[in-house]
């Protein structure tokens, strides 16, 4: 999907600082995510990507700054307003986080039962649709413990889609998946984003995924504790001159080249 500058901003992050106690993880982050785009939050392991995501989905109160969804400030809103904003979110956790004592179908049905007044038959139709969108309809009656890692991710994606979210958050979607399954998940994310028109925010350091699907993004640095580059992963790879970003995008080879040592002896 090509980025379209005329699209409005679905999500704005303004001067966000996140941390635990007196320890600052990331500070002064400001960026906006356009409606319909697939936005990457990149960075090395441990730079605070997931912590930023936690603040964005409402699990961790930021130390400072605001997160504005559709013109509403999430963290300064009251509890009821926060729940209403939260209903626009779908979150796919790193390990799926399926509720282990419920079947896959029950996992997808629970948010529908809690937040809508739909009949049992209607909910089961919607559950069937969401599961077949991710190719998991055959496993509807399985328990999460009976599924493989990739299937668990897809089932969790169906659950994240349950309430037709406007924004989908992915925490390391390809972590623990083989390249083929990971590619399939990428295609699925792309298809769903195109089909449903949802905005996607991905936290990841899987380069092939980032290059394949993301059209915008931000690069967080662990040392500077803030964003050091902005743009789509492909753009950053081709045009960004910052040494950390280059090293990340070229899997560390850039460092070697700078020092005059080429790993391949060329």
């Amino acid at each position: 999907m090509m980025s379209q500058p005329d699209r409005r901003d679905e999500l704005q992050v303004k001067n966000l600082t996140v941390g635990f106690g007196s320890r600052v993880i990331q500070h002064d982050l400001s960026f906006s995510v356009r409606q319909g785009s697939i936005f990457a939050i990149m960075g090395e392991s441990g730079c605070g990507k997931s912590t930023v995501l936690k603040a964005m989905v409402g699990l961790l109160r930021p130390v400072a700054g605001s997160i504005v969804v559709d013109g509403e400030d999430y963290w300064s809103a009251g509890h009821a307003a926060r729940v209403a904003i939260g209903r626009k979110f779908g979150v796919l956790f790193q390990s799926g986080a399926l509720w282990s004592s419920m079947t896959v179908a029950e996992n997808v049905a629970l948010p529908l039962q809690m937040f809508t007044k739909l009949s049992v038959a209607a909910i089961s139709m919607l559950v069937d649709l969401k599961l077949s969108l991710v190719g998991m309809a055959a496993a509807a009656d399985s328990l999460p413990s009976e599924l493989s890692g990739g299937m668990r991710k897809r089932a969790a994606l169906a659950r994240a889609l349950a309430l037709d979210p406007k924004i989908l958050f992915f925490d390391e979607p390809s972590a623990g998946l083989d390249p083929i399954t990971s590619k399939r998940l990428d295609d699925l994310i792309l298809e769903l984003s195109n089909g449903l028109g949802v905005t996607v925010v991905i936290v990841s350091h899987e380069l092939p995924s980032l290059f394949a699907i993301c059209d915008d993004g931000i690069f967080l640095d662990a040392d500077a504790k803030t964003a050091i580059a902005r743009g789509s992963p492909r753009n950053l790879r081709d045009r960004c001159d910052h040494p950390t970003v280059r090293a990340f995008m070229e899997r560390g080879d850039a460092h070697l080249r700078v020092n005059g040592i080429n790993r391949y002896g060329q």
Binding site: A84, W99, S100, S101, F115, T116, L118, A121, A122, M125, L126, D128, L129, K130, S132, L133, G135, A137, A138, A139, A140, D141, S142, L143, P144, S145, L163, D164, L188, E191, L192, N194, G195, L196, G197
Partner: protein
């Protein structure tokens, strides 16, 4: 969310020649305007029988899953309309809807249902019996392993970590002092109070010391202490090991070749077997003190009389029986907690079940073993 300005989802079927056109209008938003389907699908397909079904979505407003569900049911329904199949022509649909429909490939008939279990009475009874037999075998194996590895542990040949043992001894010992004191003290006081009321009618108020002494030392202190520990520590062991099972931590130990029994079960048995006799003696002291206070308060006898009477009533063998019981109960609580924790499933609910059944098994086991002790002591004339 402005629900007010949403229109309800509508459809209209225009028929002409070989084609039927389904005109969709209104807003199709699942959470707000609901779903359409069921009989309407059959109605549409019935009226479009033998024709090509087209779509006109020019009047449609907002849409989400509700529309896709509707279209998917139409498509899936059309496939099984016999003998005059409906040919669905999706070119009139928005591009994005077509993509989603393509993604939601029908998996009709592929849905796996878990194998139906036999439900006749005989098979239920048989299944239960096999389960009990298997559980008994597992428990026996564990007791055997405990005996074998316990010997190794005493000879310092087991793969235990001293820090684990220390931590577990602390949790099963010092941390339990408070609750063991409260429960035993109250039980002793209640015994003295009830006993005094009855015995004073016969002018035998002084024998309340004998009653409290024998009951507390021989029965109440070991049983009450063990039940408290079953609820407190047995449940904790089961929940801990069940959670480790769910996180694949047990699998990780097995892969390394580290003995799960030595590392996890043995320290727990050791901790309870070491601490339970001490807690028993402590519980005895508090129980007798509780009895003393209640007896002095209700019958007005002097403290010295009570103690003198007590000394004559409680022989060493009573303490020996109590100590033997407390050691056996300690091993039982630790073994049942660990056994249930290790053989549990991997979900969050299984952890809850494991804790519950460990406590239940512990309490039932304690009472049953106490009955065995009573019979043995009777035969041996102790």
């Amino acid at each position: 969310m402005a629900v007010a300005d949403l229109r309800s989802p509508l459809w209209r079927l225009d028929r002409g020649g070989n084609t039927a056109t389904l005109v969709l209008s209104g807003d199709w938003v699942a959470c707000d305007t609901g779903l359409r389907g069921g009989d309407e699908i059959r109605h549409i397909l019935g009226n479009a029988r033998g024709k090509s079904l087209r779509f006109d979505t020019s009047e449609i407003g907002r849409w989400d899953s509700a529309l896709v569900v509707f279209l998917k049911m139409l498509r899936d329904g059309a496939l099984i309309t016999q003998p005059h199949p409906v040919e669905v022509d999706d070119t009139g649909l928005p591009e994005t809807t077509r993509r989603l429909l393509a993604l939601a490939i029908s998996e009709r008939g592929k849905r796996q249902h878990p194998d139906k279990l036999a439900t006749s009475f005989a098979s239920l009874v048989g299944g239960k019996a096999l389960e009990v037999w298997k559980a008994a075998g597992g428990a026996a194996t564990l007791v055997g392993a405990a005996a074998l590895r316990g010997g190794a542990a005493i000879a310092f040949r087991a793969q235990m970590r001293a820090s684990d043992v220390f931590q577990l001894v602390l949790e099963a010992g010092a941390s339990a002092l408070g609750i063991v004191a409260i429960v035993n003290g109250l039980v002793g006081a209640i015994l003295a109070f009830v006993g005094a009321v009855q015995l004073e009618r016969f002018g035998a108020g002084i024998y309340v010391a004998n009653l409290v002494g024998i009951a507390v030392v021989r029965e109440m202190a070991p049983i009450v202490t063990a039940i408290v520990m079953a609820g407190r520590t047995g449940g904790a062991y089961a929940a801990h090991l069940a959670t480790m099972q769910g996180n694949e931590e047990i699998d990780a130990l097995e892969v390394f070749g580290i003995s799960v029994f030595d590392l996890l079960v043995l320290p727990r048995i050791l901790a309870l077997v070491l601490m339970m006799p001490l807690l028993y003696l402590y519980g005895c002291a508090i129980g007798l003190f509780g009895g003393l206070v209640a007896a002095v308060a209700t019958t007005g006898m002097s403290v010295a009389t009570f103690l003198h009477q007590l000394q004559g009533a409680v022989s060493d063998s009573q303490f020996e029986i109590g100590l033997a019981k407390s050691i056996v109960f300690g091993a039982l609580v630790a073994l049942s907690g660990c056994y249930i924790g290790l053989k549990t499933g991997r979900s969050a609910a299984d952890v809850g079940h494991a804790a519950t059944s460990a406590v239940v098994a512990g309490i039932v086991g304690i009472i049953a073993l106490d009955a065995v002790f009573a019979v043995c002591a009777n035969v041996l004339g102790i």
